[in-house]
């Protein structure tokens, strides 16, 4: 068992590296591994189990939970992309480090962790997803990847005039700054105290620390052999080893295994804990009165704050049917449901065929920050595509069959005659009618030209008409057709077949 323990750090980093490459491969679409692969992320699969009860999601979240119960938080250092990203930052840092002794010290984060978790969870339960959007590791990883790294590459390529075929996600300033800021905070926290993020802010870490505290295999200090030298504590990036008191706080341990090879006396080991041979109570659970109060108190403060915020409705902008609302991606079904369920990972945005999905800054109000909305200035919803709702890992977008998607209304077009070149200048145009995939825009005679007439019964709000409309203003984009979002995505009528007149040319040449 001794050697097994020592090779774990190597096995672990190889696995993590391989997994990281797989995640990037899937993200960039070099090879697509399908939805089950994306559901390996614990938060999306757990949320999907709650939202849609997708069998694969339930099975995978149970597997991750069980894995943690058996081996501790292996998930955090092998599967979680943000965790691996932190490890990458740490290994870069290690290159510049001369001192032999590790830089870490034991710290207790339980109060803060519980406060943050309950704050996030309570707000989420009351339909405000924003804190979760900001803190979820998978969301943060993918938004940083697409908003900072991919977009950055795109901008730099443009600067040098290379025509790289990269899809620009074109984040709004607020979104871009948030992503940069998140990355900056993450790197700062990592450089300061290793996996600090994972044990304070990360909701997944908080959930998984519960089974990890009672896991079957766990890292323990041998009370007799340990001399409290602190070698293990100094290499523990999760700060979970208290060498002085010879205690390993397993709920914070991310199972990186660095400590196993650090000990000169083989006093720290991965062991199978048996009920009979359970260590002293204080070894894994410090039950002093102060600690107990702090733990409960943190949770209560977080929950209370969340409750107060959701009750006050600070961050919630009530959807107003009278005003022009942003359109949600197809499959969102209902505005309140969508805003409450989407974790803003932005996978749909980076994969959008029509280049129409963009991360919202304040379009939905603060409660929909970073969630996708349809920006008809940048593109329009491709008629034959239903990629966004089929890849959504959390179930915020309900997967739609192509047929259903093509008749799901995501918005409704309105005609603004004063901006129309045909109406104002009496010129033929018809760009809107040309692009309508469902025949909802009919060009009707008007003076010497034709103007669009919108059939509300057929319109699905794809926005092709708005996107292509040149408008009369040469300097500014002011389309004569605007699509406003709907709060409830309904199924519209099928386009009607209109009988065609017979042509003489069907029989012979008319000339």
């Amino acid at each position: 068992m001794k050697t097994n323990g020592k090779i774990w750090p190597f096995v672990r980093s190889s696995l993590a590296g391989a997994f990281f490459v797989l995640i990037l491969t899937d993200f960039f679409g070099w090879i697509r591994f399908g939805k089950a692969f994306r559901l390996l992320q614990f938060a999306p699969s757990l949320l999907n189990s709650l939202a849609l009860a997708l069998p694969a999601a339930i099975v995978i979240s149970l597997i991750v939970f069980l894995l943690t119960f058996i081996f501790g938080r292996v998930y955090c250092s092998v599967i979680c992309p943000l965790g691996i990203l932190q490890d990458i930052v740490l290994s870069v840092k290690a290159l510049f480090r001369r001192k032999k002794r590790g830089p870490y010290h034991y710290y207790d984060t339980r109060t803060l962790k519980r406060a943050v978790f309950f704050f996030v969870a309570v707000l989420f339960c009351f339909g405000v997803a924003t804190p979760l959007v900001m803190l979820l590791p998978s969301s943060n990883f993918f938004t940083i990847l697409s908003n900072v790294f991919v977009q950055g590459t795109y901008q730099v390529a443009q600067l040098f005039g290379c025509s790289l075929d990269i899809k620009s996600v074109d984040p709004a300033p607020g979104v871009f700054i948030t992503s940069i800021f998140t990355l900056f905070i993450l790197i700062a926290m990592t450089l300061w105290k290793g996996r600090l993020y994972c044990n304070t802010l990360c909701p997944v870490g908080a959930v998984l620390s519960l089974p990890a505290a009672f896991s079957l295999f766990r890292i323990q200090l041998n009370q007799d052999q340990c001399v409290s030298c602190g070698m293990c504590e100094h290499v523990c990036k999760a700060g979970c080893i208290d060498a002085k008191n010879k205690v390993v706080r397993n709920e914070n341990c991310v199972m990186c295994g660095n400590c196993l090879s650090a000990c000169a006396r083989d006093a720290i080991k991965l062991v199978l804990t048996k009920k009979s041979a359970a260590p002293k109570a204080e070894q894994h659970c410090d039950l002093s009165r102060r600690r107990f109060i702090a733990g409960i108190g943190g949770a209560a403060v977080g929950a209370g704050l969340g409750l107060a915020m959701s009750k006050l409705g600070v961050s919630r902008k009530e959807a107003d049917a009278a005003k022009e609302e942003p359109s949600m991606p197809p499959g969102a079904m209902n505005r309140a449901r969508f805003n409450a369920k989407c974790v803003g990972c932005g996978l749909c945005i980076s994969k959008c065929t029509g280049n129409v999905l963009r991360a919202a800054s304040l379009q939905y109000g603060l409660a929909g920050f970073m969630q996708p909305y349809m920006n008809y200035d940048s593109g329009f919803c491709a008629f034959g595509c239903s990629r966004c709702n089929n890849l959504c890992p959390t179930g915020a977008l309900v997967p739609l069959k192509r047929d259903r998607k093509q008749s799901t209304r995501i918005g409704l077009a309105h005609f603004i005659p004063d901006n129309c070149v045909a109406y104002t200048a009496e010129q033929d145009c018809g760009a809107c009618g040309e692009h309508c995939p469902v025949g909802a825009i009919v060009m009707v005679d008007y003076k010497s030209t034709r103007i669009p007439q919108i059939n509300d019964k057929l319109c699905i709000g794809c926005g092709a008409c708005q996107h292509i409309c040149p408008g009369i203003n040469q300097a500014k984009r002011e389309p004569a057709i605007r699509v406003s979002g709907v709060l409830e995505q309904i199924t519209v009528e099928k386009p009607v077949e209109v009988e065609a007149k017979t042509l003489k040319s069907e029989e012979d040449f008319p000339f």
């Binding site: 443009q158 005039g161 290379c162 025509s163 899809k167 620009s168 065929t353 029509g354 280049n355 940048s378 593109g379 491709a382 008629f383 034959g384 595509c385 070149v421 045909a422 010129q427 033929d428 145009c429 018809g430 760009a431 009618g433 040309e434 692009h435 309508c436 995939p437 469902v438 025949g439 825009i441 009919v442 060009m443 034709r450 996107h467 292509i468 040149p470 408008g471 009369i472 040469q474 386009p495 077949e497 209109v498 009988e499 065609a500 007149k501 042509l503 003489k504 040319s505 069907e506 012979d508 040449f509 008319p510 000339f511």
Partner: protein, 329 residues
């Protein structure tokens, strides 16, 4: 000299004059090349003025009709020579299957590429600026498949390949001589760089321009931004002006499946009629007039026909032209 001979000679000389005038306006180098290219062709036409100006074929499959039409015109080698670069402008602007009649018939395209391969051209490009996502468009219209088979390159853009790549990609900012509204355009630079330019439109109804055929199909050679400007600043005149940048050496009108209403994208199968017709010729304007007759659209409603004639793209008086009509069994 009888009247017919006189008319034919006058027409030929006029055509030669137009070509010389148009090419003289270009850079000297390009002009030299063009005159070299055109001269033998025109003189040949003078000698044997037997070949029709336009061939219309009906009642056959796309490939058979194309072969019949090219036979009447003396074969592909009349238009393209060995080792030349050819640019083809089909209509592949929509993410619609060929059955919807929104994009150029793939069988016709295949026959065309095959005949070009037989001549032994150096390189074939298929160009278009698509309305839907370009990758989806070339896939659904089967152009990707055909291009792969015949080793042609698809140069396609849509909104996502934007202004940022002008000059670095296939787009180029140029000035169109003699244009008023479309003076400065962002256009596909292959048009002027190639030896032969073939326009292969599909005949359709069009909500804005009434009909889309040869001249309207030429809108796909400019960038997306330009297309919007065209819609903004007088559709018909702009269409004619873009068409005058580089007149096609050959137009092949696909009227096998035609969209008679709710075009140019179409909604369902009821919009499409099986007309089984194909027209080939050099004169874009005349072909558009004939196309309007096929679909029974009033010619005076299609503004770009008049504008095109004004700019010297061709004649709308089809009685001046010899039209060979072929009905396949």
């Amino acid at each position: 000299m009888n009247r017919r001979d006189f008319l034919k000679k006058t027409a030929a000389i006029a055509a030669l004059g137009t070509v010389l005038k148009l090419t003289a306006a270009d850079e000297i180098k390009a002009a030299d090349k063009k005159v070299d290219d055109k001269k033998p062709e025109e003189t040949k036409k003078n000698d044997a003025a037997k070949k029709p100006d336009i061939v219309a074929v009906r009642n056959g499959e796309p490939a058979a009709m194309f072969e019949a039409a090219m036979k009447e015109l003396g074969g592909m080698k009349e238009f393209v020579r060995k080792d030349q670069t050819v640019v083809i402008k089909p209509n592949m602007a929509w993410d619609r299957p060929p059955e919807m009649g929104a994009t150029t018939n793939p069988d016709l395209m295949e026959a065309l590429l095959k005949s070009l391969k037989e001549v032994g051209v150096r390189k074939v490009y298929l160009i278009d600026t698509t309305c839907d996502n370009w990758k989806n468009c070339i896939k659904s219209s089967k152009m990707e498949e055909i291009a792969k088979k015949y080793d042609a390159e698809i140069v396609c853009g849509d909104t996502q390949r934007d202004q940022a790549f002008v000059d670095k990609w296939f787009l180029k900012n140029v000035e169109i001589k003699g244009a008023q509204k479309m003076k400065n355009v962002t256009i596909n630079k292959l048009l002027k760089e190639c030896d032969v330019f073939i326009n292969v439109p599909i005949l359709k109804n069009h909500g804005g321009a009434t009909m889309t055929c040869c001249m309207k199909n030429m809108m796909g050679v400019v960038s997306k931004d330009m297309q919007m400007k065209i819609h903004q600043g007088g559709l018909h005149q702009c269409i004619a002006e873009v068409g005058s940048y580089r007149k096609p050496d050959l137009n092949i009108v696909d009227a096998y499946r035609v969209m008679t209403k709710r075009g140019p994208k179409g909604v369902d199968a009821s919009d499409v009629k099986l007309l089984k017709t194909l027209m080939v010729g050099k004169d874009m304007v005349a072909l558009d007039v004939l196309a309007a007759k096929l679909l029974e659209f009033p010619v005076d409603r299609i503004g770009h026909i008049k504008e095109g004639e004004k700019l010297g793209l061709g004649t709308s008086d089809i009685s001046k032209l010899t039209i060979k009509k072929v009905t396949l069994a």
